[in-house]
Symmetry: C2
Subunit: 364 residues, 2 copies
């Protein structure tokens, strides 16, 4: 590291609000935790947003990006044709050693593609996974994968687990994160083929694997990390978000009916504020894309400056704790879950394990 | 029908509360809507519960069941060894024409197995699907499948849709139910192989198919029916339930902090009551097992008498509207989604469709 602080490249062009959310969010974060900002996007937009803010003591730099990635652009198109988009350039800054991590509120698929292309995957990880933080009474729950992949193989689920366990430990400060496999019942043999094959693989790892967990139990605090396929995770997450919005809106409209309710709502307003804060997905920051040779956090498209700031804070913590190094150590401790090992076992079933963590992994 | 009222066989042994929830729930339902009750279970338990209730004008009958199905029993064991369990006997009552439908709070897998064994499937339906009602501001959302199957084939999703559309129409009184495919994005081509193959099949049906829907949109009222694989649906449903419980408990504990909040909560208590009522899964009744030659509703294991009563009410409505006949009509209108048709097309690719709805379908 050049700087003693985490250097974060912020793609300010993404999301529903663009620079108007990303720039103030980044500045806010840099005021509460030391970090160096590389603001990547249209120079004039960034300058305009900066002009509204107090920048005293902030270590920042503007990196002008010519092009903007549209939400409709295919990732492959961006990679080939639009090389100077902000998300591409932010990833390149990490690749070239000018930054330690990326925060983006753009299209997840695009960020993933740029991340893989520029940074590559951590040796032993076949598929990067997108993790999300879900609100709970105590520390949030880590849910992985919430949509970086669909149709994952059982061993991919185990790789997700190995990465998310580090996230819970390093970013949420959970001592020995308990890892569960999201399933439709707790008994062994429940669920689909994917989960049934993943379970014995999970049991072989050094993780604190507690077995199958049901969607209801994860909120009761039975686990710190819940692992599932990206299709399942994405749908479950969005359904929960939708339900959360529905809950709030129903409560709001109920509290507006009648004088007593209105008065009561007024009196209890600080309680409601705290309530909303716990539930607010914004409070729980971004979603880390785990498994890349570099730190990449994705914010919700609708993220406001508060959510961006929280994501920046988590990104900085992830970098400071050198979480990716911990992921590598976790993989070394569990060589059987990487593809190469499986291939080797298949090709030479009689050969003994040699702890060959140093060997090349086949990359798909 | 012998009786002019729906005759419902109630398996009172299932669920966390057994007869203590099922019997009063059934009696409550029979007071608000005309129905004939066949209470199936341990005679002494039923009599004890009945002795606490006002039975004036209730048309009921006790059918003694010797054996109880344990939650740990495998369905196959029940079918072969424990033939006189309450759930088996309740299904047999329908099979033999003594009842029109079954309500059970027992193990879903067991109820499904007994249902298939005794009643068989509707011609053209390969896999019965479990539907659930999710709370929304307007009428509830129908989500199908929430766990009757795992690893469904694309055409099974279409069969679920055809059945759930009838449910929304007949039981929720939605005029032209809009049907969506639960997916991780709205664009075509998004999602896993299963959903991608289901989409063109859906488009060919006579359903009001609106395309892919995301988990967040289903609560905004964009669709009336959301279709997904049973594994996805079960996890999403339970995660949502867990989040709902978490929400309520966080709100409760926040409202207990401080005098103003407590007072406010007291003043707004009627608003909270209405709020909880909307969110309460109990209010939305049981989950219908669609696709059987007979009406079968499953209550949540934790269902109290209120939930049971609501499920009974919906079961009666399902029977009165002859929803299973509507499902058959829906299938006849969409012959291409049944397996036989696919096989035929495969075997004789040149042959023209002859609308052969009357022909035998291969049953798996």
């Amino acid at each position: 590291m050049e700087s003693k602080y985490p250097r974060i490249a912020v793609d300010v062009s993404g999301g529903d609000h663009g620079a108007a959310a990303l720039v103030p969010g980044a500045i806010k974060a840099a005021k509460s935790r030391p970090m160096a900002l590389k603001l990547v996007g249209k120079q004039e937009e960034i300058k305009q947003e900066l002009s509204k803010l107090n920048l005293e003591g902030i270590d920042y730099e503007i990196i002008h990006a010519n092009e903007v990635a549209d939400m409709d652009d295919k990732p492959s198109h961006i990679m080939r044709k639009k090389k100077s988009t902000s998300v591409q350039m932010a990833c390149e800054l990490v690749k070239e050693g000018f930054a330690d991590g990326v925060v983006s509120a753009g299209n997840t698929g695009m960020t993933l593609a740029c991340g893989i292309f520029n940074l590559g995957r951590i040796k032993g990880i076949e598929r990067p996974g997108l993790a999300a933080f879900l609100p709970r009474k105590e520390h949030p729950l880590v849910l992985i994968d919430v949509g970086a992949n669909v149709d994952s193989k059982p061993r991919h689920l185990v790789q997700f687990a190995v990465m998310a366990e580090v996230l819970a430990r390093d970013v949420l400060d959970v001592q020995e994160p308990r890892v569960g496999l999201l399933n439709i019942g707790e008994e062994q043999g429940k669920g689909n083929a994917q989960v049934n094959e993943a379970q014995p693989l999970m049991e072989k790892t050094s993780l604190n694997f507690v077995g199958n967990v049901e969607g209801r139990e994860v909120f009761a605090g039975d686990v710190d990390v819940a692992v599932c396929d990206g299709f399942v995770g994405n749908i479950a997450l969005k359904l929960s978000e939708g339900l959360g919005v529905t809950f709030s809106s129903i409560l709001k409209s109920e509290l507006k009916r009648g004088v007593f309710s209105k008065l009561g709502a007024l009196l209890a307003s600080s309680a409601f504020k705290r309530f909303r804060k716990t539930l607010d997905y914004e409070e729980h920051g971004g979603a880390p894309l785990l498994g890349l040779n570099g730190t990449v956090f994705v914010c919700h498209g609708s993220a406001g400056s508060k959510a961006v700031s929280k994501a920046m804070d988590m990104t900085a913590k992830f970098i400071e704790k050198e979480a990716n190094e911990d992921i590598k150590r976790n993989l070394e401790a569990n060589p059987e879950i990487t593809r190469f090992k499986r291939l080797k076992k298949f090709l030479y079933p009689g050969s003994r394990e040699q702890g060959g963590e140093e060997e090349e992994h086949a990359e798909s």
